[in-house]
Amino acid sequence: MSVVRLEHVHKRFGDVEVVRDVSLQLPQGGLTVFLGPSGCGKTTTLRMIAGLESVTEGRILIGDQDVTSLDPRDRNIAMVFQNYALYPHKTVAENMGFGLKIRGVSGPEIEQRVKTAAQMLGLSDLLARRPKQLSGGQMQRVALGRAIVRDAEVFLLDEPLSNLDAKLRVQMREEIFKLQRRIRKSMIYVTHDQTEAMTLADQIVIMRDGRVQQVGAPLEIFDRPVNLYVAGFIGSPEMNVLDMRVEGGSLRAAGAAGFTAHPALAEGQAIKVGIRPDHVEVATTESAHGALDVEVCEQLGTTMLLIGSFGGQRLRVLAPRASVATGERVPVRLPPAHFHLFDAASGVRLN
């Protein structure tokens, strides 16, 4: 049962198409993350769901209601902005209660709901303060509180953590996770940070240039990226991509042993093979598929990241800590079981 549905939604500004043919079904009670680099259309899509941007073509449904032409206030949504957008001249309590006040809810009930939400977010002592007396994390919580008090059907969050410093971001991430699981409201969360996406989402929607690239659970996307772009976007350190060719029934790359080619592949086909750095193994000379000329060795503590040249192509290896010097030739193994095969021309996944 989906709470938000987008059907063939397009958004154009003049001649520029910013969102192209996006169709999505977002599950009830889940946390969906729109992930992508700046300019990919994720924020615009969010704002269209909120009603802050008009829809050029297509429909948006919330619950089962077509909201495409409705005002934001009639859509039963609440939003948390990147810059918090707290009313500077109102206290925390007034900020949180404002939405209810405008809708004519009675004073005592507003007070009650504000109190409950404040307790949930640890804001009970701050209710009489003004936004300029709050820290970044506190302001973010007030923005969340404002949304919770409204008890809307869908919560929209536009990069809520990007204005916080790294440590605070991790902490707030946890809090948002727990909060969402607790209140069980549907949440749409926009970010460019894949860590946030991986840790928070029930479902990730990866966008690029206005189009949806892939929709799925975090691990699903991680294990089976549907194209080269998604493969390179998710996962840190970034996935290795090697050029290979199908020759005589084998996949060949320069300077490496051949691998048995997948039966579906055509002779002579150019393939991009993706393999994550942690799946590449440092091997013994006998079992090796080839050698890595190490250019950089980054010691990370328990692991190390080797970056260098594998038969002329760039390769990154994440291996258990060892002592490796620049310029060394390290034998490596590439287990085919961990290959992600992509067509070199289209980038589409083949296996």
């Binding site: 500004f13 003049g14 615009t44 009603g51 032409s69």
Partner: protein, 307 residues
């Protein structure tokens, strides 16, 4: 402010409803402005095409010689004189006010207590009612009572009465006007100087530039656009010069200080030649429009639109 809206008219979009609602708030102002500026403006132009005057009120609709007034203008030596006086006044106003305003701004640019207070105090000439400025300088240029004259006489450099002398009257007015209006250029220069970023100045200092070199090559290019806009404002304002002339010289001696604005006043309200006065006023309005357009183009921010 022009709309960069979606090409397809989105059905019943919130933003369109908002624009309609906002327009309702704009409407009263538009109505008032139309009634008080557009209507009189049109009436002005229409009147300029007639020979309307107090002695002949029926000529309000006499369009037989529409360009009659405009032709007479250019054959009217007194009008042409007023234009010459106006040009002298305007050019000297722009130059003197910009120069003195910038000079004072450079002095006041530092952040000491004294200079901060001075920045407020030196605004006073600009906010004074022009008529008060007029009577003050009238007194200061009246030899019998003026401490300035007494001082100059005392140090052996007596100044003759300036306002009654045809060759100095206009410059006396320019001087008083510069005193009155220099704070405007000062404020604009101060604001512009504040906005000059620190990095180019630091870099120039490290490169060994002297203070005047830093001014000419770093600060000035940055503040030049503001100075241009300020100059245009001063130009337009100089066209409106009236109270000082009215009180200090009444256009004289002779017609030496009769600027175009003052001449229109004479024609329209002393001689009640409304048609003729309207024609000159129309020309002035056209000139102001051109310069305003230039200012508007320079100072309008680029349109920005969320995506």
């Amino acid at each position: 402010m022009t709309a960069l809206s979606s090409t397809a008219p989105a059905r019943g979009a919130w933003s369109d409803r908002r624009d309609a609602s906002l327009f309702l708030g704009l409407l009263p102002a538009l109505v008032v402005l139309a009634a008080l500026t557009a209507a009189p403006g049109i009436y002005l132009v229409l009147t300029s095409l007639t020979p309307l005057n107090l002695a002949n009120p029926g000529s309000a609709w006499d369009f037989s010689q529409p360009l009659g007034n405009y032709v007479s203008m250019f054959e009217d030596p007194r009008f042409l004189n007023s234009v010459a006086v106006q040009v002298k006044l305007s050019l000297s106003s722009v130059v003197l006010q910009l120069f003195s305003g910038l000079a004072v701004a450079l002095l006041l640019h530092a952040n000491t207590r004294v200079r901060t207070i001075a920045r407020s105090a030196l605004l006073i000439p600009m906010v004074l009612p022009p008529i008060v400025v007029g009577i003050t300088w009238l007194a200061l240029f009246t030899v019998d009572i003026s401490p300035l004259h007494r001082f100059m006489e005392g140090i052996g450099l007596p100044i003759p009465p300036l306002l009654t002398n045809p060759s100095t009257a206009l410059w006396a007015i320019v001087f008083a006007g510069t005193w009155q209006h220099f704070p405007f250029a000062m404020l604009m220069s101060l604001a512009a100087l504040q906005m000059v970023p620190d990095s180019p100045i630091e870099a120039a200092r490290i490169d060994g530039a002297s203070r005047s070199q830093i001014f000419w090559h770093v600060r000035l290019p940055f503040i030049a656009p503001t100075l241009v806009v300020a100059g245009l404002f001063i130009l337009i304002d100089s066209v409106k010069a009236f109270p000082l002339i009215f009180i200090m010289t009444d256009g004289g001696p002779g017609e030496v200080t009769e600027v175009t604005n003052f001449y229109v006043y004479r024609q329209a309200f002393t001689f009640s030649l409304w048609g003729y006065g309207s024609a000159i006023a129309t020309l002035m309005l056209a000139g102001v429009f051109v310069v305003s357009y230039a200012i508007y183009r320079i100072t309008s921010p680029k349109d920005d639109h969320g995506q």
